[in-house]
Point group: C2
Chain length 125, copies 2
DNA sequence: CAGGATCCCAGAGGATACTG
DNA sequence: CAGTATCCTCTGGGATCCTG
């Protein structure tokens, strides 16, 4: 479990175009094996409950999903909604507006991943 | 994964699962702590030698850099150029055309990382 | 159902030293 | 300079069981 990212001033002599530091920041928050996948599923699903989410993010364990959700909530990508008026209590997860700012990133990654897979397939034939 | 993917708005459920899988593919190849950073430095540097590369990718050890470079070379993102005519032998690394197909991904990530950092800073003040 | 508590492991990655 | 070789740490993450 990470905490919130606290940006430091990285004043490297050759800070390049700044792309490097920004990409680093991005990777710090949404990097890892699961975060983007969870975000995508959440965006596709609207409100969704824990177990269904676990089913849709294939391969993830309850423990890891729980940890990732806490992390994503801390960073404002997902909101945990508890419906206390019902019994048993229903918990739902919803993607936030802020998570939608990741659309370009997800779009670019998906597009690249798609063409990359095609390239790999061609190389194997 | 043969379904058409529209990177923009309104997607079908199938396009979405394709989205998920494609992002997964992308993360598989360019995920991790160092790969994208190395690729960025490589793209910004033209030809570059091992030790200088290590200096520019701050914090990376020689062992890890060596491993990552092998991996990146296998996947066609970097070319290892040996100038055997010189003594001592000079080795240079160059980013490939294929690595340039990552530009949109890097651009999106950098842009998002930049605004995210600004957002975090504002929240702290 | 929605997780928490434990235990455990592989593998990513760091530190240091060494070599052709 | 361009890496290798060791060794070692750390943590992401799997498996399993437990509970309100």
């Amino acid at each position: 479990m990470e905490n919130r990212m606290v940006p430091e001033e990285r004043m490297t002599a050759q800070a390049c175009s700044g792309h490097l530091a920004s990409v680093e920041d991005a990777i710090y928050v949404i990097g890892g094996k699961w975060k983007l996948k969870i975000i995508i599923v959440l965006q596709e699903s609207g409100n969704i409950r824990f177990n269904e989410l676990q089913r849709k993010v294939e391969g993830i364990s309850a423990r890891v999903l729980s940890n990732e959700l806490k992390d994503l909530e801390l960073n404002g990508f997902v909101k945990r909604v508890v419906h206390a008026e019902q019994t048993p209590v229903v918990v739902e997860y919803v993607s936030t507006d802020y998570s939608r700012t990741l659309k370009p990133v997800i779009g670019a990654l998906a597009e690249w991943g798609k063409t990359h897979k095609i390239k790999i397939k061609e190389e194997m034939s």
